[in-house]
């Protein structure tokens, strides 16, 4: 470990370690690029790819992100953008959960879908993409449907869960699993020009407040569909929430729901006061 650290320190320019030197260190000392990234970050240095993160995320913050594991439930419209942004951000381990294969009607919006990979599993496409854009990130592909039965096992070890599902009923099961594990859940949902984002903290019943009465219903996306830009907007807001939660900085959407209307270009903040329980 001393030898690899010496090699990294000698190749660093200032505190920046270029990707070619990270790869060379991995090759010379028979380590994975991820292990080398950990050594770089644990010793006060920064992989050069993150230098433009710097005014936003400190070196210590970048290290924190690398040592974090985040679960993304759903690898479709929201999930594709979420996984892409988490990988570029430098989150060290991403658990990608989705049972489905790409179909032609996904091509209008799902970031990892291409005409060439129709019929292939979404989590496999996510793995190829993440390996391509940031080989120091470990993506754990779980080709399965999230449910109340497997939820806790799938999320175990993750610091944050990110909702990219397309089913209200499964979202409630996800919220329950997050409560059982005591981890925050960043929630997003979309339909047409519209979306919303909020974060449920352990002990809160945020998703029950939003969906409780309608948990067996489909949303208006069944009639409105989903264009390319709405998932990109909502996914980016979700990743900003994840970043703050992992760093313990900023003000997350706790007890507040951001409602996005891209048709009127209006963003509304809904303060989620206690539900009016005494009525019905």
């Amino acid at each position: 470990m001393i030898a690899v650290l010496d090699f990294i320190r000698e190749s660093a320019v200032g505190d920046l370690v270029a990707w070619q030197h990270q790869l060379e260190a991995a090759r010379r000392f028979s380590l994975s690029p991820a292990l080398v990234e950990g050594i770089i970050l644990d010793n006060g240095l920064l992989p050069a790819r993150y230098q433009r993160n710097r005014q936003t995320i400190s070196q210590a913050g970048q290290r924190e992100l690398f040592h974090s594991r985040v679960a993304v439930i759903g690898c479709g419209g929201l999930g594709g953008y979420i996984i892409e942004e988490l990988a570029r951000l430098g989150v060290g381990t991403i658990v990608a959960i989705d049972p489905d294969v790409f179909e032609e009607h996904n091509l209008n919006r799902q970031l990892f879908s291409t005409p060439d990979n129709l019929g292939q599993y979404k989590v496999e496409a996510a793995l190829r993409r993440v390996t391509g854009i940031n080989p120091a990130v470990t993506l754990i592909a779980r080709q399965t449907a999230f449910s109340a039965e497997n939820g806790v096992e799938l999320l175990n070890g993750s610091r944050v869960a990110v909702d990219a599902l397309d089913s209200i009923g499964v979202r409630i099961e996800l919220a329950d699993a997050c409560s059982a594990l005591g981890i925050p859940l960043v929630h997003g949902a979309i339909a047409g020009w519209f979306g919303h984002v909020t974060t449920q903290f352990p002990g809160d019943d945020t998703l029950q407040s939003i969906y409780g009465a309608q948990k067996s219903c489909k949303g208006v996306e069944t009639s409105l569909g989903n264009p390319s830009f709405t998932p990109a907007v909502v996914a980016s807001l979700e990743v900003a929430e994840v970043c703050k939660l992992l760093l313990g900085q900023g003000t997350p959407l706790r007890g507040r729901q951001l409602a996005i209307d891209l048709y009127s270009m209006e963003i509304s903040m809904i303060e989620m006061h206690e539900s009016d329980r005494e009525t019905g």
Binding site: I168, A189, I190, H196, K218, V220, E221, N226, S275, G280
Partner: protein, 74 residues
């Protein structure tokens, strides 16, 4: 009884953004949704004066009712 109704997202299509309307005493959230032809299964967040309410909640003079459609896509 004067009630201000605010509609959001797709509920505005063919309706309005905000209107103050006279309703008879005893009107519930469900009654307003029915008058506006908002399908029950499309109702998402419903709030009176910024507090979450359910369909059977009876409105009072001066209330502001906000209705959002149910969003579930991903």
């Amino acid at each position: 009884m004067r009630v201000t109704v605010k509609l959001f997202a797709s509920f505005r299509t063919g309706r309005f953004e905000i209107e103050t309307v006279d309703y008879p005493p005893g009107t519930t959230v469900a009654d307003v949704a029915d008058v506006l032809k908002l399908p029950r299964n499309e109702l998402g967040i419903m709030m009176i004066n910024s507090r979450h309410v359910k369909l059977d909640r009876v409105l009072d003079e001066g209330d502001t009712l906000a209705l959002f459609p149910l969003l579930g896509g991903g």
